[in-house]
Subunit: 158 residues, 2 copies
DNA sequence: AGCAATTATATTGTGTACAATTTAATTTAT
DNA sequence: ATAAATTAAATTGTACACAATATAATTGCT
């Protein structure tokens, strides 16, 4: 083993075993990736009841707090680009939850406005976060620490 | 506000503000979801160099430690089903990294065996975890805590 | 004013995730 | 032994993510 590899093994032994092997079980990123998938799966039965997917639910949450927001600002909040958002917003429009209007001052800009049905959905979604909190079976402090680390990761990694 | 909703707000104020509103900024699950997406984006330039996607890289990692594993056991390790794995494994087969063989004792079972090229790729992938560790700019202990919480979440939520 | 550069969104194409269903092989129960 | 039940993969269809590119509107520059 080279000096460089020894350093690697020492510094990052979350990721490798004593022989420097790549082990799935030791990968932080794999745990994060699997937990994110599991969370989306856990949301599904709750969101099926209001006919939303998880990304659609996040999008509605942005709109409930920022009605009339444009696609670019929505993308900045959700960390998603127009390639993801355009079709997603069209599907929410088809469901009758929002309208996609062009801004009067700038024809390029698409403003997203909730319909009455879209606004009404907010109330039905209100209990979802607490249900998920219970499903997690984790103490409040641990979830707060998880959020803090994820936010740091997101900020430094991009 | 009902008593039940007051309880919700008190218990889960990571998710809601003082008026009980659903705020994206306060959602643990959204942070986890965004961090997972960000991590996959951060892996991309490293994995492009060896022509793998992140799920393909995870799959190869399983094979490097468990050559000849079948699809079901692979799915249990990766928390993915055959609907995801079958096409993914076919793509890795097309790249010449593995062979998909039927088990002799049970014709239903598909065994996945690394080719020489598949085995050789392991060496090129060795430095990736340490590079990602550096990219995170987080102390080792915080990453270990992150992994621990994600693993707990994955176990309780399913 | 007029043209180049920039910006906002949309489109195209690839690769996941996953529910639901199908197919084929094996096991179980009678 | 054989029909029913179970199991392992594969298939089908929907919905993300995101890179790359295209389109159209606006801004900046001279």
């Amino acid at each position: 083993m080279t000096d460089k590899q020894a350093h690697v093994t020492h510094q990052a032994d979350v990721t490798t075993n004593e022989s420097g092997e790549l082990l799935l079980e030791n990968q932080v990123c794999f745990s994060l990736y699997s937990a994110a998938n599991a969370i989306i799966r856990a949301y599904r039965p709750l969101l099926d009841a209001i006919d939303l997917t998880y990304p659609q639910y996040l999008t509605m949450m942005v709109l409930w707090a920022n009605d009339g927001i444009n696609v670019k600002d929505m993308g900045a909040k959700l960390h998603l680009d127009s390639g993801t958002l355009t079709p997603l917003l069209k599907r929410l429009e088809t469901k009758g939850l929002l309208d996609r209007k062009r801004a009067l001052t700038d024809e390029r800009v698409r403003e997203i406005w909730l319909t009455e049905a879209g606004k009404a959905l907010k109330d039905k979604a209100k209990t979802i976060p607490y249900t998920m909190f219970c499903k997690s079976e984790l103490p409040f402090e641990e979830l707060a620490a998880l959020k803090s680390t994820c936010d740091k990761l997101l900020n430094t990694i991009n």
